[in-house]
Symmetry: C2
Subunit: 345 residues, 2 copies
């Protein structure tokens, strides 16, 4: 089936009526609508998206930009694939399609985004891995493209974002460890300029302060956000003089590498070293002793992301009252055995 013209001819009615029937417009005879829908189904007609887009000025496509960094790839980090389900559950209601736009690793993310937006392949964008200073945010704001960011940034002033509750996680982790008698608590933070690193370390500092503990910069161990990074963090931790008795990890898979390094060194997590991981992750579920970490539903996060985005789009904002356009997403403590011992001074 080529186009609406053939379908209309086949039904012996005008293309206008066919279009109205297909698009659920109210002013169509019920009988006519049924005939049209049946014929479309039978002949496999679906409206050409370019034609629609050109006329309507919208593509009905939402882009999720992802950066396939070496690290992400090696980690097998499927954070986004999980969020995707939640996003789609909302978008489907409005016949919006989600496409993932992988930025080639050799292209500047900002340039890539500009190109995609300028070509108008999407109506709106979801960006993530926000940097502390992120040009993409300024660009999208200025270009008035609806968007939502997964992650805060110092850029762009007021813009829609959702971020994980790093403060809550840091505060909870520090409080637990302090309650068990720990005084020297290390933290494994990312070595990149990603904004969550700053947020997390700040919150850790403040939590220490609240508990009257001195902040020691040497306890911030900067490593890659990966299993290997966790291993590296383990190595650096072992080399610290006056070795910390506890460590908080900012990335879920670090725990696996850290455990391995500890086992190699004869240091037993949960007995000689308290470990608190970040996000609960299937692959870390089998660590022995079980890892204390934090739980969240990536699907629900995706749903919220989608709703936040739609609230900023004129065509949908009525359905999704704007309200809080910035959300701190809570994580729930999932206690394990990795920090279940008490330090006696």
């Amino acid at each position: 089936m080529k186009g609406i013209r053939q379908l209309a001819k086949h039904l012996d009615i005008s293309i206008g009526t066919v279009s109205r029937a297909l698009n659920d417009k109210p002013d169509v005879n019920e009988e006519t609508r049924k005939r049209v829908l049946a014929a479309a189904e039978e002949l496999g007609y679906v409206a050409n998206q370019s034609g629609r887009s050109l006329r309507q000025g919208t593509t009905n496509v939402i882009g999720l930009m992802i950066e396939a960094s070496q690290e992400t790839v090696e980690n097998g980090d499927n954070f986004f694939l999980s969020v995707t389900g939640g996003l789609q559950s909302v978008f489907t209601r409005h016949k919006l399609d989600l496409v993932m736009l992988p930025c080639p690793s050799d292209e500047d993310p900002h340039e890539y985004l500009k190109r995609m937006v300028a070509r108008r392949v999407v109506d709106a964008m979801i960006i993530s891995a926000t940097q502390r200073i992120d040009k993409r945010i300024d660009f999208l704001s200025k270009a008035k493209i609806p968007f939502v960011a997964l992650g805060r940034s110092s850029s762009g002033g007021n813009y829609p974002w959702i971020d994980l509750d790093f403060e809550g996680v840091a505060a909870c982790a520090v409080a637990r460890l302090v309650a068990k008698g720990h005084r020297r608590i290390a933290i494994a933070a990312p070595s990149t300029d990603i904004n969550l690193g700053y947020v997390f370390v700040d919150a850790y500092r403040q939590a220490l302060e609240r508990h009257g503990l001195e902040f020691d910069p040497s306890l911030i161990i900067r490593v890659k956000s990966s299993e290997q990074g966790g291993y590296q963090a383990g190595t650096e931790l072992l080399q610290l003089e006056n070795r910390p008795t506890a460590i908080i990890l900012i990335y879920e898979l670090m725990a696996i590498g850290l455990y391995r390094r500890m086992v190699e060194a004869g240091v037993v997590p949960g007995r000689d070293l308290a470990v608190i991981g970040f996000r609960e992750e299937p692959r870390a579920r089998f660590l022995q002793p079980t890892l204390t970490c934090f739980r969240l539903s990536l699907r629900d996060l995706g749903t919220k992301l989608a709703e936040t985005l739609l609230a900023t789009m004129p065509a949908y904002s009525a359905l999704y009252p704007k309200g809080a356009q910035n959300t701190i997403w809570p994580l729930e403590l999932a206690p394990g055995e990795s920090d279940a011992f008490t330090i006696t001074p």
Copy 2:
């Protein structure tokens, strides 16, 4: 910058000339072309893709369909993200953009594909995770949409595909094990209807036959393609009477779960049980003893996939001589310690 009309007005020339200049057509004055390109850059003009698509009949977008199954997500399987780099390196040369189309887990993959194709959001498709009988292949063939499949299938007769050399891997693994004296060799295969399972098990059977070993169906352990599946395979292996002395795994992350199960049972891989893994994977690199497995470049695989696809597209086939439209992609043995012992009967 709104559209080509404004840009043309700004330059005081016709939109036709602007278009020709922007699209590298030969019949444009060099001076004019420079002025146009400069103005476009300055004003941030990029052609609206819907307009282009409608006129040209092509979208210049290639779709990579991915199925975000529960398993894939939990595994953190980033096979595709890695292949993406290779795909893009080829597509970029032709100003083609790659988008990943995630099929919602509650939608039938075949219906999803039909919808995407009918809406003409992409010029061509890359599909994967091919089933033994895969309706998508018949559909794409019939609809004459250029496509390439990552994975063979029994469907569709003659169509372009690339697949990993499962035969080679199975043959090599069995030969190695037999040479070390193993007579009872188990194999962990996928429990789903994915075609690679059939191909791999067949090749394993044939390899046994070549070495004069009897095929024992109880040695085919069907489990999920995941870490957990590997663990499960370990459990089942331990329960087998006349326990096999070796196991071949069909999925890379199975090794991690299998090792864990073996350690729990006091069975030492590389001493009490020979293990040969499938694809070399960063996360399995730290297993002790090191895993014998097979190496391939996912980036190169992506490049080949892209080239195979372009060879089937009329607009590019001249540049990519069709030649072999079916490729068996070789894997290179990466010997480790996990199968380095000899059985003495």
